[in-house]
């Protein structure tokens, strides 16, 4: 490796990692937290078969799963200003990523809710818990244990998808890389470098997932 390339790579490492820590991670963390709230809400209204809200949830999932993430970003950031709705890049990205991710995760949470035996909810109601108490204390915790691995999948996918936010001028890792490439003309090395940093983030999340599963697994083995 030439000395010049080595210097570019070490110099750019921090220049890429920094927006990773200040933009990519916060964007992912905020958007995924909001996505979880949306997902649980959309799953619960379907599970409980709340008239009106159930149809609304189905419609929402249909739209956000059925259209490209990139198109959603463009509609919100470049399209909505036509209607006088101007949103800054970062909040626009948070909005789109949480709505998009919420739609996928809603299905994960719903299937996990349905995998909890009906007797759990019935038993909870029979000992005098109200429906929200029974769901919140007995059914949902068990469902989240089941949903944890696929939700971790979604989270890891989302970290990488945040690179799309570069298209709406969010100064995250990928945009930082593009800028350095424009200056140095070393696309191969730099794009591999940013790929490795994404890999680093994903690896950390994989460890986090393993730790989380162990922590949630106290009652892991289910009765036959």
């Amino acid at each position: 490796m030439s000395e010049r390339l080595f210097a570019i790579l070490t110099d750019s490492f921090w220049k890429i990692l920094l927006p990773g820590l200040t933009v990519t991670i916060p964007l992912t963390a905020i958007a995924f937290s909001l996505a979880m709230v949306i997902a649980v809400a959309a799953a619960l209204v379907q599970f409980a078969n709340v008239r009106g809200l159930r149809q609304l949830a189905r419609f929402y999932i249909w739209v956000f799963r059925g259209t490209p993430l990139l198109v959603q970003l463009f509609v919100v950031f470049y399209g909505l200003p036509n209607m006088g709705v101007l949103i800054d890049p970062f909040p626009a990205a948070v909005l789109v990523f949480s709505l998009n991710e919420g739609a996928y995760c809603a299905e994960t949470v719903r299937s996990a809710l349905e995998s909890v035996p009906a007797g759990q909810l019935e038993a909870a109601c029979c000992v005098g818990l109200s429906w929200p108490q029974a769901m919140g204390r007995i059914v949902l915790p068990q469902a989240m244990r089941t949903a944890f691995p696929p939700l971790s999948n979604s989270l890891i996918a989302m970290v990488k998808d945040t690179s799309l936010a570069a298209n709406i001028t969010v100064a995250e890792m990928f945009m930082a890389t593009q800028r350095i490439v424009a200056r140095t003309y070393e696309p191969l090395a730099l794009y591999i470098e940013v790929g490795l940093i994404y890999l680093l983030f994903s690896t950390a999340l994989t460890w986090l997932q393993r730790w989380g599963e162990k922590k949630l697994g106290a009652y892991e083995r289910q009765e036959a």
Partner: protein, 252 residues
């Protein structure tokens, strides 16, 4: 104390309960017998609102309810006075044995935690499960799980406990273990309504027997009347078939 009249329930086109009357007095151990598919379990579930009955009335502690049209808050209130033991135990899988018992006390009945834990421990002791208090359901045998489920039922000091085939998922040894717990409860005067196929238990413990078939009550009466002097031919046939009535040549 608890009476239902003309309970009806249909799943789609299929009528499962075709107008059932049933009455339980305080201290009764009432047993519902009958072949599979006769509606016993559905009746029990309707009485605790796990199924919404299509019609009928219920009187509980002098309060009258139109089944199928009972408001949610009344259901919640009634459930705090009753308990239900399931065929498949349904212990909370994310709670230890002790937490399974305290859950309803703390959250449902708003009893302070330390007091709830004392009560729960007493209940677990009664069913011989106190040493397993910190075990999760998957670490317990079926019989142990069902005993914890019974502890969960009695801890809230209910006015009546519904048992839905509590031993049907257990082998004979574990069945005996659960039945002896139920026998002791009966001796202590607990009001119980039991759907069971355990004819020996029904005969020796119950005070009242209801025999159901095809969504209707065929015959009901005191345990002695039903087992020693059944009036209906269908009841006699069922008892003979299950070995609870000697073959009687004169009735053939």
């Amino acid at each position: 104390m608890l009476e239902v009249r003309d309970v009806r329930k249909a799943f789609g086109q299929r009528e499962v309960l075709k107008g059932v009357d049933l009455q339980v007095e305080r201290g009764d151990v009432a047993v519902i017998l009958g072949p599979s598919g006769s509606g016993k379990t559905t009746l029990l579930r309707c009485m605790n609102f796990l199924e919404t009955a299509g019609g009928g009335t219920m009187t509980f502690d002098g309060e009258r309810f139109q089944l199928g049209r009972v408001p949610k808050r009344d259901i919640l209130r009634l459930r705090k006075k009753t308990a239900f033991v399931f065929q498949s135990y349904n212990l909370f899988r994310n709670r230890t044995a002790l937490q399974n018992v305290t859950e309803g006390l703390i959250v449902g009945l708003k009893i302070p935690r330390d007091q709830a834990e004392r009560t729960a421990l007493q209940a677990l002791e009664k069913v011989g499960m106190a040493p397993w208090r910190s075990y999760y359901p998957h670490q317990l045998s079926g019989g142990q799980q069902q005993r914890v489920a019974i502890a969960r039922a009695i801890a809230a000091d209910p006015e009546i406990i519904f048992f839905d085939e509590p031993t049907s998922a257990l082998d004979p040894e574990l069945t005996a273990e659960v039945l002896s717990v139920m026998r002791r409860l009966a001796e202590e005067g607990m009001t119980m309504l039991v759907v069971t196929h355990e004819m020996g238990f029904a005969r020796s413990v119950s005070s009242r027997v209801v025999f159901m078939e095809d969504g209707r009550v065929v015959e009901s009466g005191s345990s002695r009347d039903i087992f020693e002097n059944p009036r209906q031919e269908r009841t006699r046939a069922f008892l003979r078939l299950t070995g609870s009535l000697p073959d009687n040549p004169s009735s053939k």
